[in-house]
């Protein structure tokens, strides 16, 4: 095993937690943004805020509450980023193009083993990407973030019932996509 370089920074106390939850947080951040770079930016901003609160002793709750905090912060950061982008486009008088022509990495897979995935999962992944954001973000938080509807409501500033409704509607929409694929002989 090669020793770490002498000038390599020491891992912070957050690293183990980051290694455990990083992928699902990145997934949510990518769902909220247009590129992996933007996703990493807003995720980093959210994580730094968490680190600040924890180290300053102002964070309310234990480590179990970190995840809920980060989801909320990712959402807020993505909203801020969206506003900055809108202002920049207005200033520069750029036309907002279809995201598929932007040349960004928006179409890169979100899940592992995309190439070897069976057709059902491939359709589900595509369906998730195509869902309106307000439905897909609830699904992401519920299934991979393992958040409760109450926590989802708090993070997205909606009621618990609205969160549950959007989740059911999103899942139902995916079910219909699968049903259509079967009718078309794709499955």
């Amino acid at each position: 095993m090669n020793p770490a370089p002498a000038n390599a920074p020491r891992p912070s106390r957050f690293r183990p937690w980051l290694e455990e939850h990083g992928s699902k947080l990145l997934l949510f951040a990518r769902q909220q943004t247009r590129s992996i770079a933007d996703a990493e930016d807003i995720l980093q901003n959210a994580l730094v805020k968490l680190a600040r609160k924890v180290e300053e002793g102002t964070f309310v709750g234990d480590q179990q509450a970190w995840l809920a905090f980060i989801y909320t912060q990712i959402r807020r950061e993505s909203i801020d980023l969206g506003r900055k982008d809108d202002r920049r486009r207005k200033r520069e008088e750029l036309v907002v193009e279809d995201k598929k022509t932007l040349g960004s990495d928006i179409d890169l897979p979100h899940f592992e083993n995309s190439e070897n995935m069976d057709e059902t999962r491939r359709i589900l992944e595509g369906g998730l990407k195509g869902l309106p954001k307000k439905f897909s973000e609830v699904i992401h938080m519920k299934l991979w973030g393992e958040r409760t509807f109450a926590e989802i409501g708090e993070a997205l500033d909606i009621s618990l019932n609205t969160a549950a409704s959007r989740y059911r509607y999103g899942i139902e929409a995916l079910r219909k996509q699968l049903a259509t694929a079967r009718l078309n002989g794709d499955l």
Binding site: E40, V48, A51, F111, R121, I171, L174
Partner: protein, 170 residues
């Protein structure tokens, strides 16, 4: 939710989020370790119009001498038993340091202004298109008069002024 949707939920859960690359983990971890180097945006913002602090100061060099002279004349009338001054507000509040003061001439020895409160009325636009913030300032002006015999009379006058400050509009 029915069985079919539950089954779909289970299928979705089998999707595993793409792992975060090691270099990204390191970058994020490093950023978290250096949290103290990041200043929140809200701490970078300094309000443009702050509430003016309560202040007292030497008023003589700031306000017109004529106003002081009017007060002095008013005090002279009161102490000399003369006719009421033309400006009744001058004599509205007089406290005597001693009972039975003489009629010797009093001259102002000190003057102070104390701001009691301010009220931000809001931004208005002048005819020339300039934005100005309208501030109502309530203050108390205190003038100290003293004669050759060391007797002192203190005159307090409440004032209310409206000032206009240039306002920055984004």
């Amino acid at each position: 939710m029915d069985a079919e949707l539950n089954k779909l939920e289970e299928e979705l859960k089998k999707l595993s989020p793409l792992g975060m690359p090691d270099d990204m983990i390191s970058r994020l971890d490093s950023a978290m370790a250096r949290w103290h180097e990041h200043v929140p945006v809200e701490e970078k913002i300094v309000p443009l119009n702050q509430e003016p602090a309560e202040s007292t100061g030497n008023w003589l060099g700031w306000r017109s001498v004529a106003a002081v002279a009017v007060m002095g004349a008013g005090v002279a009338f009161i102490s000399g038993g003369g006719n009421p001054p033309a400006n009744p507000s001058v004599a509205s509040s007089v406290s005597e340091a001693r009972v039975g003061i003489s009629t010797a001439a009093f001259t102002p020895s000190d003057a102070r202004a104390k701001i009691l409160s301010t009220n931000d009325v809001g931004v208005i636009w002048t005819k020339s298109g300039q934005a100005v913030r309208c501030m109502e300032v309530n203050a108390t002006n205190t003038v100290y008069f003293q004669n050759e015999e060391g007797e002192q009379v203190i005159v307090e006058q409440p004032t209310r002024e409206v000032v206009f400050l240039p306002a920055k509009i984004d």
